[in-house]
Amino acid sequence: MSILLDSETTFIVQGITGREAVNLTRECLDYGTGAKVVGGVTPGRLGREVHGVPVFDTVAQAVEHHGGPIDGSVVTVPPAFTKDAVLEAIEHDVKLIVIVTERIPRSDVAQMVERANEKGARIIGPNCLGVIVPDVIKMGGIGGPAKDAAKAYTPGPVGVISRSGGMTTEMSSTLTAAGLGQSTAVSIGGDAIIGSSYAELMPLFEADEQTQAIVIYTEPGGRMEAELAAWVKENDSRLPIVAFMAGRFMDEMPGMSFGHAGTIVEGKEDTASEKIARLGEAGIQVAEEISEIPELVKNRIGVTA
């Protein structure tokens, strides 16, 4: 199976008439078995179509047109309008919200997450590329155009979770080349506060029979890796985890931000070296190079190379 999405998942695209959103919609429609993009929302554009997808002014109109609850929404509107768009989706019982937009202030993210928690919705991102179930469905720009995504992602036993959208594809492509497909790959976003962390996605992968191992991409900044290490220790997870840590050079440059908004060394505990130590203590192997990852995974799940 997969986590978060399957071939039946319906979703809308909020901000669908933007240039990137138009491309993203095309990609999702083309990929795998073809995503069920049941509508788009851009205020003031009611009645238009984007690649055959009807455009509405409000989420309520989209839900009404669909004739029932819509599973998900990809939100790609400017940062100043993102919070409102997400609250609107949550209000109309959308349960999975992928926020592509970057540069959203933390207090907005915290409000969206708090509201999502109240209504039982899940947020992926912000500042992410979304979720892909190889050969089945993708929700967001992850992997790019359908033919490019097909080149990098194949179905298989590895769950991928990454703070970098681009590196989600790089790592999955490396796994694919080594004969290791992916159950689901999730670009969780590079901000300091995000809707779903590694530890929050682990129970989903844990419950997914197809998934036999997890590969994560991590960076300095924040405590998400420590949270994951704690989760692994407490839950006696059946899933071996292999990690890759980028940005080791940042340990020498505290206070400087590189790569993503949340990637900044602010204290002792969020350095690359500290995180590597924490992950190691929890039995999570940290690869020195991306190319080592497939071998490490194979060793752990008993596949011979």
Partner: protein
């Protein structure tokens, strides 16, 4: 972005939290009248965005206005940890009965702000938390519902503070919690929060960090404080090279070719995207390479922008070669970056084959990109060569040719062939 103490104190004051009487001065002549107005003993504090002021002699005590002016003169000329002070804060030297701590930070795991309070102020809160955990009260609070006084009261009472102090501290902590959210802070700290001999509480020092992403909507506050857009307030001041990088990125609104950070090595890097750049920079260093810079390409920049970035890096003194590398791209077009970097080489009179140590950008439009690179004899690889392997090859090349390249005049070619930009569909 960090605020200077004099700005942080102003923010605190605007939020209705009492502070001692203070003023900001950039000269001894400005300091004197402030000290006269305060009219008693004063403290002269260096305004720098770094710690260790006290130890470095950046905090001086004065009994008269003349003495305050003299100290101001001295402190203004004192460099602290490589930082030249912005000015001095002339502050009332208050008689303090007890020092407290009040602060708000984000908890990225709980995804909520957390209010912190201690009756052991004046020292680092993390140190207090470690050594005297029973002296630190804390509580997370909602970002959806308005903060209410009782939440502050509970935190204060949780470490045994009662009586008048509890009553007087409650509104102060409430205002701090509100200001944290209203002003998009990532850290709002009053330390020490002083209890004066007469029982009043005043902010004696404040530390505020605001989120960069919130700058657009906090424009009014920044304007009030006289902070312009050009003040980035990063951990260190941007270098000329880095400012030139920002200019390149600002050329047009197509994609990113920027986030340039200067290093002092000989291998110029034209790398991307966010996570890819972090990975590649590490990879170059892991193989013994010495990067001249860090940067990020992403979001499909124009040929002009990619060329501008490559040119900037190529022209940096001490750069022998550039490595053009990214993680697999799906949005950025390989051919556009290829055109850009080749164009930059040609414009500078360099042979692309010699100057570009390696080109490793697999993904969208790679066939078209590789054709261009073939034409100019540039070594490139597809996704079958890992990011680390590409970095290793680049380092090997630059270490093998430390004595410089061929005569550039022989390499000059027309740029018109690659100058024409083909736009993405």
């Amino acid at each position: 972005m960090r605020f200077f103490e004099y700005e942080a104190r102003e923010i605190v004051k605007q939020a209705g939290i009492p502070t001692t009487d203070f003023g900001f001065a950039t000269s001894a002549d400005q300091a004197r009248p402030i000290a006269e107005r305060i009219g008693g003993p004063t403290v002269i504090k260096s305004q720098v965005l770094t710690g260790g002021r006290m130890k470095a002699g950046g905090v001086q005590f004065a009994d008269t206005a003349d003495e305050a002016a003299q100290h101001a003169e001295k402190v203004l000329n004192l460099e602290i940890n490589g930082h030249q002070p912005r000015g001095v804060l002339v502050d009332t030297r208050a008689e303090v009965k007890q020092e407290y701590y009040a602060g708000v930070v984000w908890d990225g795991i709980r995804k909520q702000p957390v209010l912190l309070f201690s009756d052991m102020g004046g020292i680092d809160i993390e140190e207090v938390a470690e050594q005297h955990p029973d002296h630190v009260g804390r509580a997370h609070f909602s970002t959806l519902r308005p903060f209410s006084d009782f939440q502050a009261k509970e935190v204060i009472a949780s470490i045994g503070v009662s009586g008048r102090p509890l009553q007087r501290l409650t509104p102060i902590l409430t205002r701090l919690a509100k200001l944290f959210l209203e002003r998009d802070m990532t850290l709002a700290e009053i330390n020490p929060l002083g209890e004066l001999a007469d029982g009043r509480f005043v902010a004696l020092d404040a530390h505020m960090d605001m989120e960069n992403e919130a700058r657009p909507r906090q424009q009014q506050l920044l304007e009030d404080l006289g902070i312009g857009d050009e003040e980035t307030r990063q951990a260190r001041e941007p270098t000329e090279f880095e400012l030139a990088g920002e200019e390149v990125d600002g050329m047009d609104h197509r994609g990113v070719a920027g986030n340039v950070t200067e290093f002092d090595g000989n291998l110029g890097l034209v790398i991307g995207a966010g996570g890819g750049s972090l990975t590649l920079f590490d990879a170059v260093r892991a193989h013994g390479g010495d990067p001249a810079n860090y940067c990020e390409i992403g979001g499909n920049p124009s040929v002009r922008k990619a060329a501008g970035l490559a040119r900037l890096v190529l022209e940096k003194p001490g750069v022998d070669k550039i490595a053009v590398m990214m993680s697999i791209v799906s949005n950025t077009r390989v051919d556009i970056v290829a055109r850009g970097v080749v164009k930059a080489c040609l414009e500078l009179g360099h042979d692309p084959a010699e100057k570009i140590a390696i080109f490793r950008i697999p993904g969208a439009w790679e066939e078209e990109g590789f054709k261009i690179l073939d034409k100019y004899g540039v070594e490139y690889t597809d996704r079958s060569v890992s990011m680390h392997e590409a970095a290793r090859r680049a380092v090997e090349k630059i270490q093998g040719s430390a004595d410089g390249g061929a005569d550039p005049s022989e390499m000059r070619q027309t740029t018109s062939e690659v100058g024409a930009e083909s736009e993405p569909a």
